[in-house]
Subunit: 141 residues, 4 copies
Amino acid sequence: MIEIPSDATRELVRIRYGETDRMGHAYYANYLFWFEQARGAWCRDRGFDYKDLEDMGVMLPVVEAHVRYKGEILYDDVIEIAVWVSEIKRAALRFDYAVFRQGESLLLTDGYTWHVTMGTERKAISVPPHVREMMQRPRII
Amino acid sequence: MIEIPSDATRELVRIRYGETDRMGHAYYANYLFWFEQARGAWCRDRGFDYKDLEDMGVMLPVVEAHVRYKGEILYDDVIEIAVWVSEIKRAALRFDYAVFRQGESLLLTDGYTWHVTMGTERKAISVPPHVREMMQRPRII
Amino acid sequence: MIEIPSDATRELVRIRYGETDRMGHAYYANYLFWFEQARGAWCRDRGFDYKDLEDMGVMLPVVEAHVRYKGEILYDDVIEIAVWVSEIKRAALRFDYAVFRQGESLLLTDGYTWHVTMGTERKAISVPPHVREMMQRPRII
Amino acid sequence: MIEIPSDATRELVRIRYGETDRMGHAYYANYLFWFEQARGAWCRDRGFDYKDLEDMGVMLPVVEAHVRYKGEILYDDVIEIAVWVSEIKRAALRFDYAVFRQGESLLLTDGYTWHVTMGTERKAISVPPHVREMMQRPRII
């Protein structure tokens, strides 16, 4: 059983025709686009935009991604992605994801992504204190 | 009847599963990825890489795209894209494309893209003489 | 000047990070995904889903696409796509698109797509009367 | 240290402009498209096409994907993907991947995907004997 924190962000995505494949399913790579969209919503729910981080000179490139596809997602399905920060280390942080069909409780997909903090020199840096604060904020919206 | 210049570049692309849609066809947006891949090959056939242009401070963003889809393209098909520069104006140039199944002569798709020359200030500029020379080169490979 | 019919559908799209390219713009192929999303919204505004058509045995594959890119669209921009049916012929119909940044009136992109009606035999058919009625409906939502 | 079997398939991919993002890197979701392309090449190296499996009524949908991004992949880079089947269970099998820049030995990315065998009823089935034989074949090309 997956434990979704109460202040997780919930992002809705309607599946595009071009995101399906000839098997009729949503193609497996596209979930990573939706996860990224959900991370953007997670930031906005905490009062900032992901691009604010980049404007401050901090990028969060993905260094690891994991997805478990448990149920089919089809064209025009509206999915709800729960997203939360599950861990913050010295120089890395992890987002977790759980995907449901809107209004349903059956887990369709789960996954996580690990991100490092990268500075303007394109080198890994420790998570700066102001970024750590932003990533630990409760949902304010 | 489409007239393909004898020094057009020919680029092969094998269609990915993720480029199809639930209708079983290659999804219509993906052709524009293949056209871009063909433009890159066109440059290499003339002795430079597209990114050399960007390194010289010249970008060629697309300002117009047109595609006519005449025949089905399916998963795992190997298509051949003929690509050539059909027109160069003061501050813009046009690539044309014709798509066939490898080894066949039936035209499956044709199209064109118009590009402007954009400088490092992110403003449109006249095609610089050295870029004009590069875009008028015959195929050397 | 582009004339947008008063009952055009308006669909909002927030640009994903993965839809940008190294130039920092939204990549030119992705607009065709957004146009498709807008067509889906157009159908819903008229009381049906695009997949209802497919369930009735009618598909609307794209046979021609045209896009004019006039203004930059960037990461996290929220764009509004106006979409409407501009022409219905015996066996084909055309959607038109106009793209703005949300709340702004400057036209960023326009375009159109031509679609044929294809039956379950994967052959072009005349637009069936009930489909013609659906495609001529005024917006009801 | 990653152990690549001697009969792994090696597939080359040149990175498209549209596969990069505004950070200048290849976007993290696109690796899953390249992995799929590499699986197709793996099949051809063993004398069949992936779509032959589907024509026989067997699909191999992905049920789990894992990617570790270790080094940057940029526009126009030519990458070499080593791909092999690392495990076959009763009703599932796993592909492993290792990605290098062409001609270099530094590991840029590794990953794996788990697939179930799905029959024409869209239900999981045991790996049929003839499919097991195909997936255990040595490279013949």
